[in-house]
């Protein structure tokens, strides 16, 4: 420490300097990571959002055949539709034109991986959000209402995706995959619980 020039090479302990540099960089990185954790987590859904995202109960006792009910779960539209025998029969006719008729891609809970994509054949529960870019398709149950071979289903007006009455997407549509079935179960014959 006697030299007047602090950069005098003779005086500098290079090993010590390298050690100090490395530890400072290391500690700096740890600190940065520590700061990143709260900043990143801050953006995830907060407690009240999570609370608002809890399962909801829907009374379906008064639903008629063909009727559509739309409820909000986690701010998303969920459709509940009571399908008649004729509507269920249409699911056989569409099979050949579907992209994934057996619902092999995990767009539904295991208990809804069947032809009707539902727990109870008549009650269909679907997330009303197009798998293409998130528009909400329209329910068009009347045969021939969208085109001549239409058996009833859902039509997305944004980019023209078509789905059948189980929410299965037709081939060559912008939407890559079937509509999603949210987790749900029946509390009793008339009460549907959406979200678990």
């Amino acid at each position: 420490m006697s030299s007047s020039d602090p950069n005098d090479i003779e005086e500098v302990d290079q090993v010590k300097r390298a050690f100090l540099q490395k530890t400072s960089v290391f500690l700096g990185a740890v600190g940065a990571a520590g700061i990143a954790v709260p900043l990143v987590s801050y953006l995830s859904p907060n407690k009240s959002t999570q609370e608002a995202g809890k399962p909801i109960k829907v009374d379906i006792s008064s639903m008629q055949f063909g009727e559509q009910k739309t409820v909000l779960w986690r701010s998303k539209p969920v459709w509940i539709i009571r399908r008649s025998e004729a509507m269920l029969a249409s699911l056989n006719m569409t099979t050949g034109w579907l992209k994934d008729p057996d619902s092999s891609v995990g767009q539904q809970p295991d208990y809804a991986q069947n032809q009707t994509r539902s727990v109870r054949p008549d009650i269909l529960v679907l997330l009303g959000i197009c798998t293409h870019l998130g528009c909400s398709p329209t329910y068009r149950p009347e045969p021939k209402s969208v085109d001549d071979s239409w058996e009833g289903g859902f039509y997305c007006s944004c980019h023209g995706s078509k789905f059948d009455l189980a929410g299965r997407v037709f081939k060559n549509m912008p939407a890559p995959i079937n509509l999603e079935v949210p987790p749900y179960h029946f509390q009793d014959g008339n009460t549907l619980v959406i979200g678990e």
Binding site: V40, L43, S44, P45, N46, T49, G53, T70, L72, R74, S75, K76, P77, G128, H132, L133, G134, C135, S136, P137, S157, C158, H159, G160, N172, P174, P176
Partner: protein, 425 residues
């Protein structure tokens, strides 16, 4: 903003010099904070090639446009409320009850579109005169980054009025991220802060719009200008003016920025402002292009508008997205349609900068990619069916083929000899 501050300080500096009384004060400050000598160096003594033409005003106009957005934006925030319940009605309040609120809002909404028009002309100038070529590669990349930032700023701002288009357009774009393998869905929830686009999303978009991106834009503009003034301006002939300098080191083909260009640009800026305010006063929605009718309806998560379309300045990229039948590939193509421009300095193999000295092939390539871009912009606003879809596929193909063919074209094209000095003006 920058321009405003700079020019106010510049006037101050002149005053300080004109009045001998203040001259000493000016020097006293400058010795401690070299702001005046900085301004003189960059606004007055900057050696500008003597043949700069009208195309070179767009950089200055971009700064003016940016300043307009900052001022009107700060005033809007005084009444705007970023919550799902109040956002739409607070905008109505600004439009109806706040004194001159309509003016401030229309200036801000018209300002975005005009800023993008200016920037697209600015970019076209760069393409035409080869301004991206060495030594201006980083300057060019900072420009493409600015375009990205402007798009992020425009997108987050578009969501704020919380009308039908705000809501659904934000959903469509956010859901693009869900096509990222493995992490896509979690990433979307994390960004939204909710399981769906909601008030939480709106509020954080507000934060990014007002503070985050706008700050980055200012910073990037500053870097842009620093880089420009380090390497110097290109010019319509693409002649390197730094090759021939006088004994004091002043380029022989340059004139000082002040008074030659400053005085020339001021009337042009006034013309710009005249056109700008004509739109603000007489056609603020610009026939549904600057403000869409659907967005005068409050956001409704249950009902999608029949036809979702993006703001016009983003529609070319949207058309590219839609023209590709696969969701992930479409999103990738949309991203690439901008990122690829960053590589342009290395895709151009011609020894010549300006189109003035290039052969017909390079000119055709430029004309094709620009036409494809404009066509895509038109198609992005139409429904993607039948002929429109077919056309947008053709245009997308042409657009991307530019990046593939440009190295070949610029390699084989017959360019003319570029003169040593700027030809007589």
């Amino acid at each position: 903003m920058l321009m405003l501050i700079l020019s106010v300080a510049f006037v101050l500096f002149v005053l300080l010099n004109v009045l001998p009384l203040f001259k000493g004060l000016g020097r006293w400050i400058d010795a401690r904070l070299p702001v005046f000598s900085f301004l003189v160096e960059h606004l007055s003594h900057y050696p500008a090639p003597k043949n700069l033409n009208l195309w070179y005003v767009f950089g200055a106009l971009a700064i003016v446009a940016c300043a307009i957005q900052f001022v009107s934006g700060i005033w809007l925030v005084m009444y705007y409320t970023p919550t799902a319940e109040k956002a739409f009605s607070s905008v109505q309040l600004i439009m109806r009850d706040v004194p001159y609120g309509w003016l401030v809002r229309y200036v801000h909404s018209t300002g975005v579109s005009c800023w993008f028009i200016v920037i697209y002309f600015h970019i076209f100038r760069g393409l035409m005169y080869g301004s991206y070529k060495a030594p201006r590669e980083l300057l060019w990349i900072s420009g493409v980054t600015l375009l990205f930032l402007m798009m992020a700023e425009a997108y987050t701002g578009y969501v704020l009025p919380w009308g039908q288009m705000s809501f659904w357009a934000s959903k469509v774009i956010i859901s693009l991220l869900s096509s990222i393998p493995v992490v896509g869905n979690d990433l979307v929830v994390w960004l939204q802060g909710d399981y769906e686009v909601s008030g939480v999303t709106l509020h954080r978009f507000f934060a990014f719009h007002v503070v985050g991106f706008s700050f980055l834009i200012l910073l990037m503009i500053l870097l842009h200008i620093i880089m420009l003034h380090t390497v110097g301006s290109n010019n319509p002939d693409g002649v390197d003016i730094m090759k021939h300098k006088d004994r004091k080191g002043w380029p022989l083909d340059a004139v000082p920025y002040y008074p030659y260009f400053v005085l020339k640009y001021i009337p042009i800026i006034l013309v710009y402002l005249f056109v700008f305010f004509a739109i603000v006063f007489y056609a603020p929605t610009f026939y549904g292009l600057f403000l869409e009718a659907e967005n005068f309806e409050p956001a409704n998560p249950l009902v999608t508008p029949a036809h979702i379309k993006p703001a016009w300045y983003l529609s070319p990229y949207y058309a590219i997205l839609r023209s590709i039948p696969d969701k992930s590939l479409g999103a990738l193509a949309m991203l690439l349609s901008i990122v690829l421009w960053m590589f342009l300095p290395w895709l151009d193999l011609s020894p010549v900068r300006s189109m003035r000295y290039r052969g017909w092939m390079s000119r055709c390539a430029l004309a094709t990619v620009v036409s494809a871009f404009i066509l895509l912009g038109y198609l992005g606003l139409q429904t993607a069916t039948g002929w429109y879809l077919l056309l947008s596929r053709v245009a997308t193909f042409l657009y991307f083929s530019f990046f593939v063919l440009f190295p070949l074209i610029t390699y084989y094209d017959r360019d003319l000899q570029v003169p040593e000095r700027i030809p007589g003006v």
